[in-house]
């Protein structure tokens, strides 16, 4: 499997990263170089092997369904590039 220019544009769109036309050819080359190299994993027999989801062999901890934090509205908005009246502000999304 190898990526072409259209695939690079598509994954850049999925990743929400704008790329210019002149950035596409070098990315095609770099991504293919890396993908060719990781292809070697295909030669490992993984029949019946469980995929690893966590290195720690423990079950996920549970906690009481209680509010332990809150009242941090100002803290949450403090670093926003644009915040007004207690909200994050973004370009209009609904006409």
């Amino acid at each position: 499997m190898s990526v072409d220019a259209a695939t690079v544009r598509r994954i850049a769109m999925l990743a929400r990263i704008a790329i210019k036309d002149d950035e596409v050819p070098p990315l095609v080359g770099e991504l293919n170089q890396i993908l060719d190299w990781v292809e070697q994993l295909g030669e490992v027999d993984t029949t019946g092997v469980e995929p690893m989801t966590s290195v720690a062999n423990v079950s996920a901890p549970l906690r009481a369904d209680d509010v332990t934090d809150g009242g941090k509205g100002d803290d949450i908005l403090a670093n926003a590039p644009d915040a007004r009246e207690g909200h994050f502000t973004v370009p209009r999304v609904v006409e």
Binding site: T7, I11, I17, W37, L41, G42, V44, N79
Partner: protein, 496 residues
């Protein structure tokens, strides 16, 4: 004043306890050393006012009889840990001006133990790199340099990455100790390249809460220090269960410093043949053999072991880590913090912000990660990598039924010149070939400086241990350190 910065953590602790020096004096000496070391570019942010204030508070606590494990010790913090009220950048343009309203658990633990914050150290952008050249704030220079007759280190040498700023700061005595984070080797590899000690604890030993995420199933914080004893002291303060991080394991934190005295007599140390890679310089092979002899001379039994899937660790890592990174870095969209670049609509704003805010290596990894997780490729790449990861972890688990520790080189080569590998991502990735396998298995590993290359640059050996057995790792590392007697220091050219 410069004499004070020669004190390591244990030495400073003793001098402070005896009243020979105050934390304020010690902190002032380090701030002066940092000021003189501008050419190293080891720090993104230096905090002279805050450091002196914290040192004065520490001196006051000491007078009142309250003394923590790191009381009054000046530390540097990798700029991946959120520090309340202090600029935190992950070395990325996209986090411009980000000042967290909260403190990471690891740094809070250090301040609770009495530590003093000198500043935030430089790193590879979002910890993605093996040379500290991907930082938006420019590359860090290794305090060690080549005698440049051969023209190989014209712009200086890399300190390794991604915790290169912390490694350089420790090696140049700009702090008593520093924090690093290790995803695929980002603590151990820079430690090896700068002649310092770097310890990656077991995954889950230190909380990841408030540490900017790269690859969540791999990221782990650890200490970077001048000695193994200092690593033990610092880890004791950093570690511990944190209910705020569901991957933080609820286990007691042992007295790591007390474990050092154990020695290696009676331990079995495994030596895996698969860590002899093509093109590895003979001096790395010789260093490894020397380490084996030193362990043997102290009573350890050496046992050849086989970790058959070692060669698949690096490609597995370069699927798993970018996949997780592509997901973790989705939060940087110009809405809640950092950089915002306008666009025609909200999607355009996201795309422009991320295009301008991320550097080339971060973009490359996000794109790889997005690709291997995308429909049609998920099973072939991501799922297969997760299965191979299981096999790699099983190899280690099986091997550790017969041995207490595994001894390997830390890095396949000495520090290289800035710019030497930036055009070749794959060749850069190979620098972590010996550290990545233990990361995939979540195991603790340490790098100890044990010798110099023919060029006079430091080289390190790595010890890998069983999960949550940092005590044996530290015992082994201490024995190796004492036997190797590595005392070389970089010539302080940066002060000139």
């Amino acid at each position: 004043m410069s004499q004070l910065t020669d004190l390591d953590i244990a030495g400073a602790r003793d001098a402070l306890a005896k009243g020979d020096v105050s934390s304020e004096e010690l902190t002032a000496a380090y701030l002066e050393a940092i000021h003189e070391a501008d050419p190293l570019n080891a720090f993104i942010t230096v905090l002279p006012g805050k450091a002196i204030e914290m040192a004065k508070e520490s001196d006051a606590r000491r007078r009142s009889g309250t003394v923590g494990a790191l009381e009054g010790i000046p530390l540097a913090i990798k700029d991946l840990f959120c520090t309340q009220g202090v600029l935190t950048t992950a070395a990325s343009h996209i986090l411009d001006g980000f000042t967290p309203a909260y403190e990471s658990t690891v740094t809070q633990n250090l301040w609770n133990a009495g530590g003093v914050l000198l500043g935030k150290t430089n790193l590879d952008e979002f910890a993605m790199g093996s040379s500290n050249e991907t930082s938006y704030y420019g590359p860090v220079r290794n305090p060690w340099r080549l005698d440049d007759a051969g023209g190989r280190g014209g712009d200086g040498l890399v300190p390794g990455g991604s915790s290169g700023g912390s490694a350089a700061a420790v090696a140049a005595h700009l702090c008593a100790g520093a924090t690093g984070t290790d995803t695929g080797g980002s603590i151990r590899q820079p430690a090896a390249l700068t002649g310092t000690v770097g310890l990656k604890p077991t995954y889950g030993r230190c909380s990841r809460w408030g540490t900017i995420a790269f690859a969540s199933s791999l990221d782990q914080a650890g200490p970077m220090t001048r000695t193994v004893r200092d690593a033990a002291i610092m880890l004791g303060a950093m570690a511990g269960h944190d209910p705020k991080d569901s991957t933080s394991i609820d286990m007691p934190v042992p007295d790591f410093e007390a474990a050092l005295a154990g020695g290696v007599n009676g331990l079995t140390v495994g030596v895996p043949d698969e860590y002899r890679v093509d093109g590895m310089p003979k001096e790395i092979e010789d260093l490894w053999q020397q380490g084996i002899e030193l362990m043997k001379a102290q009573g350890a039994t050496i046992k050849p072991v086989s970790l058959t899937r070692t060669k698949y660790a690096l490609p597995t890592y370069y699927i798993v880590a970018p996949a997780e990174a592509s997901s973790n870095l989705a939060r940087y969209d110009g809405v809640r913090y950092g950089l915002r670049v306008p666009g025609d609509d909200i999607t355009g704003m996201y795309e422009n912000t991320r295009a301008a805010g991320f550097g080339a290596e971060v973009k490359r990894r996000i794109l790889i990660g997005t690709y291997v997780l995308s429909a049609g490729y998920y099973d072939a790449y991501y799922l297969q990598a997760q299965k191979v990861r299981t096999l790699i972890a099983q190899d280690f688990a099986q091997t550790f039924e017969d041995v207490d520790l595994i001894l390997t080189p830390t890095s396949p080569d000495q520090a290289f010149g800035i710019g030497a590998k930036t055009d070749d991502p794959l060749s850069m990735y190979l620098n972590d070939v010996f550290t990545v396998p233990a990361s995939l298995a979540g195991l603790p590993g340490i790098s100890v400086p044990t010798g110099l290359s023919g060029d006079g640059l430091p080289l390190g050996l790595q010890l890998i241990g069983k999960a949550f057995d940092e005590e044996t790792v530290l015992r082994g590392a201490y024995a190796l350190e004492q036997a190797a007697g590595f005392t070389a220091k970089p010539d302080p050219w940066w002060r000139a």
